[in-house]
């Protein structure tokens, strides 16, 4: 019970490049999983497979028990998704966009205005609700992306770099939000900020060259550093695990 995300043996190649190579993932309600890994490790590719945007070459994804391959529409109802780069329609105002997403998600019309106001309050978008998305700063665009992902209060949340481009105050706010939601939902997020994993995640998964090289709690992760390392211990572990920035051959 409670297992909301179950992905087994995910494989994805682009030509001769193996972007994801045998990734397994189980996430229960109440868990916040942080994906870590160097650029090009396969985090985005894995999340795209989870949401069905990419079809894997092999492997099975079940969201709340529903197969994304066999019942894509049913499976898509279970999650909210913030894609990499937080894409949104630039010519719409924030309010129009959130209304559109809520409608497309089948939310009853009478509930939509309240839902938009509510989510705008939670991610601090009230001041820009009637501004055209094109004219928003990067951080505000990111918040719009977060808002559209959570507007329908889904049991599963998949967010690719949710705090990228946010100022320190907003990073803090969004982490608080994720932590709060994490008590009841299954959340998967990716990040390049190791402290973020410590701050919000119940579990850290490190991906390198398409493989899971670590899966455990943030403190287990930090404990991998030798006691001689006293500062930036997580950075140290990360570098050791993922090849210390040396380009690993594919």
């Amino acid at each position: 019970m409670g297992e909301l995300i179950s992905a087994s043996n995910l494989q994805k190649s682009f030509g001769s490049l193996r972007a994801v190579h045998g990734v397994n993932l189980r996430v229960n309600a109440g868990e916040v999983v942080g994906f870590l890994g160097p650029n090009g490790a396969g985090k985005t590719t894995t999340m795209r497979i989870l949401t069905g945007f990419l079809d894997p070459n092999d492997g099975v994804v079940l969201l709340n028990g529903i197969s994304i391959a066999e019942d894509p529409i049913g499976a898509r109802r279970t999650f909210g998704y913030l894609p990499e780069g937080a894409p949104a329609y630039p010519d719409m105002t924030v309010r129009e966009y959130l209304h559109f997403i809520a409608r497309a998600r089948g939310m009853p019309r009478r509930d939509i205005a309240t839902a938009v106001e509510g989510v705008a309050t939670r991610v601090h978008l009230r001041g820009v609700l009637d501004q055209v998305i094109e004219t928003l700063s990067k951080g505000f665009k990111r918040r719009v992306g977060i808002a559209q992902a959570i507007i329908h209060d889904p049991p599963i949340l998949i967010m690719d770099e949710p705090t990228d481009g946010l100022d320190p105050n907003q990073k803090h706010e969004v982490r608080e939000l994720i932590r709060t939601m994490g008590s009841t939902k299954a959340i998967v997020l990716s990040t390049h900020i190791l402290e973020e994993v410590e701050a919000v995640c119940t579990r850290a998964i490190v991906i390198a060259n398409g493989r899971v090289v670590f899966d455990g709690t943030p403190s287990e992760f930090e404990a991998k550093a030798p006691s001689s390392v006293t500062r930036n211990r997580m950075d140290h572990v990360f570098r050791v695990m993922t090849g210390s920035g040396v380009e690993a051959s594919t």
């Binding site: 795209r48 949401t51 069905g52 945007f53 990419l54 529409i73 049913g74 898509r76 109802r77 998704y81 894609p83 990499e84 780069g85 894409p87 949104a88 329609y89 630039p90 010519d91 719409m92 129009e96 559109f100 997403i101 409608r103 497309a104 998600r105 089948g106 939310m107 009853p108 019309r109 009478r110 559209q148």
Partner: protein, 250 residues
């Protein structure tokens, strides 16, 4: 299954798309070009005055050629824009069957081109005031013109689904529509006659937009012609849905 009080997804997408035409100057430019050139053709090139006969025949003869350029200008952005912005990742992970998005986008584009057509009503009023035109022929002409716009937009939408480059989508759509338009011309048919049987030649002639357009223009709405346009549009939309689904992330 949609919760009560919710709008069905294709209508939601249609609304968003249709409004997006008016978010940029594109709509105004398009409508002005359409009205300006149709006016020129009807009055000067078509010799509306000189022929001493009040009808819109010359205007309608010109419409397929006008749409040959203007329909690809509308359709080029339908899917290429989604790919460029990355919003296709949002759209295809919403719990909405892909055909809703395909139909919604197509209908928005079609409605927009029908709006352009409707704005030529002053021409109709003028000729009706100047003389006593065959109103049935004019109505048939408007229906034929709308159907030509529909089939061109469906073809152009398909082309737009293949690429993220709008310029390529525009040019390839013009070429594709041009071929469909011209396949009934003796010049084109003679080219094929050298190495194809007469059955194949008839088949090619029967896929020509012009053949069916002219047939409708005679003022008789024949089932054969309606079936032609309907199957052409539906066929192109089905192909679009398949391509979008296969190459979501391409």
């Amino acid at each position: 299954m949609i919760a009560s009080g919710a709008m069905s997804p294709w209508r939601t997408i249609l609304r968003r798309e249709f409004r997006s035409y008016f978010a940029t100057p594109l709509a105004a430019v398009f409508l002005v070009v359409f009205l300006f050139s149709s006016g020129i053709f009807a009055f000067s090139l078509g010799g509306l005055y000189e022929r001493g006969q009040a009808d819109l025949r010359s205007f309608f003869q010109f419409v397929p050629w006008l749409y040959l350029f203007l329909a690809p200008a509308i359709s080029m952005r339908l899917w290429a824009e989604e790919r460029r912005l990355g919003t296709i990742e949002i759209l295809t992970t919403l719990p909405v069957p892909i055909w809703h998005a395909v139909v919604g986008k197509f209908l928005a584009a079609w409605l927009f081109s029908i709006l352009a057509l409707a704005l030529t009503a002053p021409l109709w009023i003028t000729v009706s005031w100047l003389g006593d035109p065959d109103q049935g022929a004019i109505i048939a002409g408007y229906i034929a013109a709308a159907l030509v716009a529909g089939i061109f937009l469906a073809i152009g939408g398909f082309v737009s689904a293949i690429t993220k480059n709008q310029v390529i989508a525009f040019i390839v759509a013009i070429v594709a529509c041009f071929l469909v338009l011209l396949s009934g011309f003796p010049l084109v048919l003679n080219f094929f006659r050298g190495w194809m049987g007469s059955g194949a030649i008839d088949a090619i002639a029967s896929v020509s937009v012009l053949t069916h357009f002219n047939s409708l223009m005679r003022g008789v709405i024949e089932l054969r012609d309606l079936v032609y346009f309907a199957s052409g549009i539906v066929g192109a939309l089905v192909a679009t849905a398949l391509v979008v689904d296969w190459r979501k992330s391409a």
